[in-house]
Amino acid sequence: MSNILRSKEFTTVLVFILSTLYVLHYFIQGVEPFDNLMLTIGNWAIISSAAAAGLGLANLSIIHVNKIRKKESGWYWDIWMVSVMFFTFLLGSITSSQSSAYQWIYVNVYQPLGTSIFSLAYLWMCSVAVVAFRVKNRDAAFLMLGGLLSLIGNIPMVQVYTNVFFDAKTWALNIPVRGVGSALRISLALGLVLVGIRTWLGIDTSYVALESEGG
């Protein structure tokens, strides 16, 4: 039995069957039992994803308990991390995510910490722009031209006195950038369809390690 489950054929056949059901359900409507079946299978995917969060807890616990046991550098920070993790998990699952205690942690600890670290993206963007927007070649020239146009166009102070930059930026966004944006999305969507088809047919199995071949 375990050899069957390990084999590449089992994986590719199971993916093929499930994907075929999903794709058929996109084209066939009005079949009540088929709709219910796909609703159920869809919920299996949601439940699997939800359960994976438990695997995340396990991964972090195992790795950091190992570090704590071996007293690797900064092991006391790992004790703090693991306790914050389990305290948040137990509080949220016992008193529910709508409880005032859990919300207090979210509003006063999680959100401030998350938004401040996340907002470093703006500061890093500026650091990168100051270096990247240098006209070293024609590519960089076009990059900077577009960058400065939309930067100046977005300044509220400038818009009070003149709309020239704002209108130029809006034209750029509605015409050339829209053409490029549409091309990028069409190209990406086509790529996703191609990856989907070769994974559906079992040609691409990069999501699984086929130990059976590894011997």
Binding site: G56, G191, S206, E211
Partner: protein
């Protein structure tokens, strides 16, 4: 009452599958294989791992946090293909790889791919499971981990592939300011500007999705990407012809709404 819907999509998929089937048959019987345009990002993998070996410092690899059951799922498959190849090169050359897993759904996949890479190079004993670490499915927890780890473990090569959001520029900027050689690959169009500006090597959109084909050199995958090029030419002709017809008054939008 059974009803069939979305005919336009059905016709599109039939055309694509037919071209793909024909090219696959052409390859199988007449051994015709297209010449793949070389992606610099893929060639850089050897350089990135070589630098880690030379300097005796680790390579940090972040695998992206697209959810498998959303439309970001297929993007992650391209990321897993590149990760598998990178892990194999590290196993062969003895470089230390730290894999930051940014979505809990990927933990079984990344762990299995690392095991397979090290088993294939007979280096199972040098695989450090503590280096396959889950970093929380959020941009800020992975950013914070990166900023601390790059300095603490003196990382010299940095790779970030898969789905990313605004944190793409942080990852590139932090790696560059720490002196790392970096490769970034994402299919999220909003982040292309930061890929180009903040990383040394980069793979944009479909480059990431077709990376698996270039790495594996598997005929099935290459003919699949080959078929994509023909579909692209078909779409370009539809856009050109459709636009001209629309300008002279014939609206063909209905063909998409069947």
């Amino acid at each position: 009452m059974i009803t069939i819907v979305n005919y336009s999509t059905m016709v599109f998929l039939i055309i694509l599958s037919t071209i793909f089937g024909y090219l696959y048959w052409l390859n199988k019987t007449k051994k015709i294989m297209p010449r793949f345009r070389i992606l610099p990002g893929i060639l850089a993998l050897e350089e990135l791992v070589g630098r880690a070996v030379e300097m005796g410092r680790p390579l940090l690899y972040l695998t992206g946090y697209g959810s498998l059951r959303s439309d970001q799922g297929p993007e992650q498959l391209g990321s897993f293909a590149i990760f598998g190849e990178t892990a194999r090169i590290c196993a062969k050359s003895g470089a230390e790889i730290i894999a930051g897993i940014l979505n809990q759904e990927h933990i079984p996949i990344i762990t299995s791919l690392a095991e397979e890479a090290y088993r294939r190079e007979n280096a199972m004993d040098s695989l450090n499971y503590n280096n396959l670490i889950y970093l929380g499915a959020s941009q800020y927890s992975s950013n914070a981990y990166l900023m601390v780890t790059v300095e603490q473990r003196e990382v010299v090569s940095f790779i970030a592939t898969g789905w990313y959001g605004a944190d793409m520029v942080v990852k590139g900027g932090v790696a560059r300011s720490a002196g790392c050689l970096s490769l970034g690959a994402t299919a999220n169009p909003d982040q292309y500007p930061y890929l180009v500006a903040a990383f040394d090597y980069w793979l944009i959109g479909e480059d990431l999705l077709s990376a698996g084909a270039q790495i594996s050199k598997d005929p099935g995958q290459i003919t699949n990407v080959w078929a994509g090029d023909y579909i692209r030419f078909l779409l370009i002709s539809i856009i050109i012809i459709g636009s001209i017809l629309a300008w002279v008054g014939f609206n063909i939008q209905w063909i998409f709404n069947l």
